[in-house]
């Protein structure tokens, strides 16, 4: 079993790493500590660079103009791309492409023409509307937004909460209950244009992160054509579940990348900072913090790559993805917390990125399925296999 990166993977890692250090980090020195986007000229220049590198739209199949990278390669990239101040929620400020809502690949050709291809070209943006005020961890039960068939249209009423980017989106995937008698099989996914009468963004919800704020949405007798159903009527839950499972791997890798960047800072600082006549690095308390950081990072990284490997091999990877998400998000939070402690007062100031990473990492233990749900997933898979 060869655990070394292939030559191609090593090239991906080194190229993206150099890009972040040489192109992104210098720009951030001039921007607000809570910056959310690059100046337009810089953004376009860097997009041209990533396109030339062949890494633009890494998740997108080659036949659709993307890089078509494997999940493993994408995971390696994600860990590198997040290693800057805004990197956790805006890795490289989107200059590697936003990809598209992957669920649209399963759409009809008409849906792809209207939504997927423009998204891949950067002309449109979409949101993913699953969570509601009644809940997000258990969408099969919590979804109360209703969709009632009326001729060739569906009439949607309800609300969504914690929906990132809906206010800047042109369309979204909206999950509504189309048949209350069928439980999770009664949820349908609709493609909704945000200029549809009855669609409202009630408010931006200000949370711990500096970018991509979530929103609260409301739908008041919003009419959506039947042809805008994505997949099958009643097949929405499977679409949502698939997305959540796949996303967990690069989501975790992004956390690991932030941990790596924080640890790099802490190692350098501990060698430089002198207290009571000796550098911090000579103190066992500091050494053990740095060692615990290395253990957390390595553990999370290998779990992520193991999950990615199974995904690429076409094998079931739900348990591995849940484990990677749980360990990656919680481990990275501990890493940044220790790095802040090592930096002292500087660690909690906006002069350094640590405080932003600390705030934004806290969300990661909740978003895309909280830690408790990941444990439920693993327990269910573990006990099921133990019974047979």
């Amino acid at each position: 079993m060869d655990l070394e990166l292939s030559d191609e993977q090593r090239l991906i890692v080194e190229t993206v790493r150099r890009f972040v250090q040489e192109q992104i980090v210098p720009l951030e020195r001039e921007l607000d500590p809570d910056c959310t986007e690059l100046p337009r000229d810089d953004r376009q220049r860097l997009i041209a660079m990533t396109q030339q590198m062949g890494f633009f739209n890494p998740d997108v199949p080659v036949e659709l103009g993307g890089a078509g990278l494997s999940t493993t390669d994408r995971t390696l990239m994600a860990e590198e791309m997040s290693q800057h101040r805004a990197g956790l929620y805006t890795p490289c400020y989107g200059v590697f492409g936003a990809g598209g809502l992957a669920q649209l690949y399963a759409g009809t050709e008409e849906q792809k023409e209207k939504y997927l291809y423009p998204t891949l070209r950067g002309e449109k943006r979409g949101f993913f509307g699953l969570s509601e005020p009644s809940g997000g961890s258990d969408p099969a039960r919590a979804i109360r937004t209703t969709a009632v068939r009326d001729g060739d249209e569906w009439v949607i009423n309800g609300s969504k909460l914690w929906i990132s980017g809906a206010d800047t989106s042109d369309f979204g995937l909206l999950f509504a209950r189309s048949d209350a008698s069928k439980g999770r099989n009664g949820i349908t996914c609709f493609i909704v244009d945000t200029d549809t009468p009855g669609f409202q963004v009630r408010r931006i919800v200000h949370v711990l992160r500096s970018t991509h704020p979530p929103t609260e949405l409301s739908f008041d007798n919003m009419r959506v054509p039947h042809k805008n159903i994505l997949g099958e009527e009643g097949g929405g839950f499977a679409i949502a579940n698939d997305r959540l499972t796949r996303n967990r791997i690069p989501y975790s890798a992004e956390c690991i990348g932030v941990g790596v960047a924080a640890q790099r800072m802490a190692v350098a600082w501990s060698k430089e900072r002198v207290t009571f006549g000796e550098p911090l690095a000579s103190r066992q308390a500091i050494q053990w913090m740095l060692v615990d950081n290395e253990i957390d990072i390595a553990t999370a990284r290998w779990l992520c790559l193991a999950a990615a490997g199974k995904a690429d091999g076409g094998k079931p990877f739900r348990t591995e993805a849940a484990m990677a998400k749980l360990v990656g998000t919680e481990g990275a939070g501990r890493v940044v917390d220790r790095c802040i402690q090592i930096h002292g007062g500087l660690g909690v100031s906006k002069d350094l990125p640590l405080e932003r990473w600390y705030r934004e990492l806290r969300i990661r233990r909740i978003g895309e399925g909280p830690s408790e749900v990941q444990r439920i997933i693993m327990a269910r898979d573990l006990l099921h296999s133990s019974l047979h």
């Binding site: 607000d32 500590p33 809570d34 910056c35 959310t36 986007e37 980017g165 809906a166 206010d167 800047t168 989106s169 945000t194 200029d195 669609f199 409202q200 963004v201 009630r202 408010r203 931006i204 200000h206 949370v207 711990l208 500096s210 970018t211 704020p213 906006k350």
Partner: protein, 125 residues
């Protein structure tokens, strides 16, 4: 949601300025008629937070429109100043179909704005 604070008139002098917090946050500047001419923020790079930013504006050292036309101000202390700043600009743009004149000046940072699909006058809460 717009700032839910009463308008105040700017007064020259250290005593007045020092009563304004040096926290991070957002602010609005309006003309004599209460029309908002500029929406700003005191972000992580501001030296003296809201106090410093408002003092600069009313001393004529920042936005030209705010300096020329500004007579009143209001502010909100908010550590999530970036998303709140965007929120206010987006709300204004939704209501008026444009930005405050000061924010349309060359060189002013304007984040990518989205839409609420409803105007403040239509609010039922």
């Amino acid at each position: 949601m717009p700032l839910q604070k009463p308008w105040r008139r700017w007064e020259a002098g250290r005593t007045f300025e020092r009563a304004i917090p040096n926290s991070l946050g957002v602010y609005e500047i309006a003309d004599e008629h209460g029309e908002v001419v500029y929406i700003g923020m005191a972000g992580g790079k501001s030296l003296f937070g809201l106090r410093g930013e408002l003092a600069r504006q009313f001393a004529g050292k920042a936005n030209a429109v705010a300096s020329a036309r500004g007579r009143r101000f209001r502010y909100e202390e908010n550590m999530q100043y970036m998303t709140r700043f965007r929120d206010l600009l987006q709300r204004f743009n939704e209501d008026h179909g444009r930005l405050p004149p000061g924010n349309e000046q060359p060189g002013e940072f304007v984040p990518t704005l989205g839409r609420f699909h409803w105007k403040s006058a239509e609010a039922t809460i």
